[in-house]
């Protein structure tokens, strides 16, 4: 301690600078940081040249430009634009901000932000399905998705703070379900790609999954926001559930029933387009599960037991929303990238024993692709998520050359049998049963709501809520 005595305390404490990372640890950490940097490059937006003149114009002139463009139909034409397309800037910087201008409440802004995030996701999927998704564009899109997801969650928090528990819950549930389902879909698309595109797509899928699992952006915000992160309240669903009123439960019931109704209708209109019946069975199963969860919820409501009712409704909403996404995405991918499930099946080289077993077993009534077991398992939020990939790619990802052939055979047989009947009889007995079950459930909900004097009674199950519109467009 000789040195200590001679030095001032300042000098003494400077000795601590000798504590360092061991050289090899430092090098190891450096190289993994380097890998992270390479994989997460800031990218100059491919639409920057289009964007910048618009940005400098200010909002008023932006609206003027938009009106002009609308008149010319450009705005509409831009709707299908993808990153790299000349009109993409119009889509992102004119059409979408305009939607924001008209969002006056936190709930509508949350919807709007979720909607924008979903549009970026759709772009990711289209590019991935075409096999043209490169890392720069993917990073750009995922960071946009992240941005809008976080904005949506911030708005949902406001909704929650306003005491609109059911509204906050449904917004968060749908957002979560959107992220998870699309993450699964992208995962499947990744397998159908190869080389760099596969890695890029898989990494995008992973980012969406992570975003879903963040649930709140709390961790990120406390870890990253300088200088002083504001104390955040826990968002949405978790917190909302602590105080469940009959009124909020009824509202959620109405929303969930509407969502199921919309999903059912979407499914019906595209029923014939499903050439792969496993995909179709998968969606049907989700709709049935949703109806079952709603039924259980109504049981609980009858017993004035609102907590489990609320939980079941959230579950039902997740299933219905997921079904909706699968139907929509299937259709969208076919339109925008020309990718059909059959194409993916034919071209695919990756094998999956699950599918082969299923094909061989001849037992299509119990689609083994959906694992949540409606009879035994209690409903749980993430139950679906791990298995949902189902179907879109259903099997996009899942056939060996030989099983691909089996499947074609299988499909043909189905088509033959299908063509024997008219529209109504084309459905299998189990499918018709499912259809009836869902309709019965919806009727029951209507009765329950009118008995309970729901505040929104006058607008009982309107055919389209604003929420649906955003989704189905």
């Amino acid at each position: 301690m000789q040195t200590m005595m001679n030095n001032t305390s300042n000098n003494i404490i400077e000795q601590l600078k000798n504590i360092r990372l061991a050289a090899d640890d430092k090098a190891r950490m450096r190289s993994s940081l380097e890998a992270h940097i390479t994989a997460n490059q800031p990218v100059e937006s491919p639409w920057a040249p289009i964007l910048s003149p618009l940005q400098s114009m200010g909002r008023a002139s932006l609206v003027a430009v938009m009106v002009l463009l609308m008149l010319g139909g450009v705005s509409l034409a831009a709707e299908d634009a993808l990153p790299g397309d000349p009109l993409y800037g119009v889509k992102v910087n004119v059409n979408e901000p305009f939607a924001s201008l008209t969002s006056l409440t936190p709930a509508s802004e949350a919807q709007n932000q979720s909607w924008i995030a979903a549009r970026r996701i759709a772009e990711l999927e289209t590019l991935a399905a075409r096999g043209t998704l490169d890392m720069a564009v993917s990073n750009n899109l995922t960071s946009e998705i992240k941005k809008h997801t976080q904005s949506a969650r911030a708005e949902i928090e406001k909704v929650s703070a306003q005491g609109e528990a059911s509204s906050a819950t449904s917004l968060e549930t749908e957002l979560l379900s959107t992220l998870k389902t699309h993450s699964d879909i992208l995962g499947d698309l990744a397998v159908s790609n190869d080389g760099v595109e596969a890695t890029t797509t898989a990494s995008a899928a992973k980012k969406l999954r992570r975003l879903a699992e963040e649930k709140t952006d709390k961790e990120i915000s406390t870890a990253v926001k300088p200088p002083r992160p504001q104390p955040r309240t826990r968002t949405s669903s978790e917190e909302v559930v602590t105080d469940i009123s009959p009124e909020q439960t009824n509202k959620l019931l109405e929303r969930t029933a509407n969502r199921l109704k919309a999903a059912q209708r979407n499914f019906d209109t595209s029923y014939e387009e499903f050439k792969d019946d496993r995909a179709r069975d998968g969606v049907e199963k989700l709709l049935t599960l949703s109806a079952e969860a709603i039924n259980q919820a109504v049981d609980s409501i009858d017993e004035k037991d609102y907590q489990p009712a609320y939980e079941n409704l959230r579950m039902a909403l997740t299933y219905a929303h997921e079904a909706m996404i699968i139907v929509d995405t299937r259709r969208a991918l076919e339109q925008t990238s020309g990718v059909t499930i059959e194409d993916l099946l034919d071209n695919n080289m990756i094998g999956s024993t699950t599918v082969e077993v299923e094909l061989d077993s001849d037992n299509k009534e119990e689609s083994p692709l959906i694992k949540p077991n409606s009879e035994s398992a209690p409903y749980k939020l993430n139950q679906v998520s791990t298995t949902t990939t189902l179907e879109l790619a259903a099997s996009s990802t899942a056939t060996t050359a030989s099983s691909g052939a089996d499947l074609r055979l299988d499909t043909e047989i189905n088509i033959e049998t299908d063509e024997e009947g008219d529209n109504a009889t084309r459905r299998s007995t189990s499918s018709l049963e499912a259809y009836r079950k869902i309709n019965d459930t919806l009727k029951r909900v209507e009765e329950t709501l009118s008995n309970n004097n729901s505040p929104s009674q006058s607008g009982l199950l309107p055919s389209r809520t604003s929420l649906e519109e955003d989704e189905t467009e």
Binding site: N10, Q15, I19, L21, R30, N139, T222
Partner: protein, 169 residues
């Protein structure tokens, strides 16, 4: 546009990673955890930059991120009694000091620090070892600048006392 900013950021890592590691080590007393947290702090800082956001004081920012990660770490761990957000264990830290030449001296300082309160230890290390001013420290520890200044002043006095006592022994 490949590797945009990579070289610059790695230079920041080279320069400041030891300091961030020390901070994490003093708060967790566990080498591996400190390494993980350090790495994560740099990774997240990069992500922040890659998102197109700006950072004025990069070193202070990484420290802020690290500090928040440390808090999150304890929140998740829950092994330590409620409210405790730090584990300063001089023995454990000293045990990891194998490669340091001036080991005896460093150990002495660590033991002296152990006799101080955590808040004092924080301001002293951030200021005397890492060279931050009161304003930067206030950003990192999320306290008022005034509070930090006052604490720094008193902590120095206490440290002197502790060192004197050590020398008298």
């Amino acid at each position: 546009m490949s590797d945009h900013g990579k070289k610059e950021f790695l230079a920041v890592y080279d320069e400041h990673s030891d300091a961030v590691y020390r901070r994490c080590l003093f708060k967790t007393s566990d080498q591996e955890t400190a390494q993980d947290l350090t790495q994560e702090a740099f990774t997240r800082t990069w992500d922040y930059l890659a998102d197109g956001k700006e950072i004025n004081n990069l070193k202070a920012f990484v420290f802020t991120v690290a500090n928040n990660l440390i808090k999150d770490y304890y929140k998740k761990k829950r092994a330590i009694s409620m409210g405790q957000m730090s584990n300063f264990d001089p023995q454990q830290i000293a045990d990891g000091l194998e490669n340091i030449q001036a080991k005896a001296e460093v150990e002495g300082v660590i033991r002296a620090l152990d006799k101080l309160k955590e808040a004092d230890r924080d301001v002293l290390t951030l200021s005397l070892v890492e060279g931050f001013g009161p304003r930067e420290i206030s950003e990192i520890t999320e306290e008022r600048e005034n509070t930090v200044s006052v604490r720094l002043h008193r902590a120095r006095a206490r440290l002197r006392k502790v060192l004197h006592a050590d020398n008298d022994e």
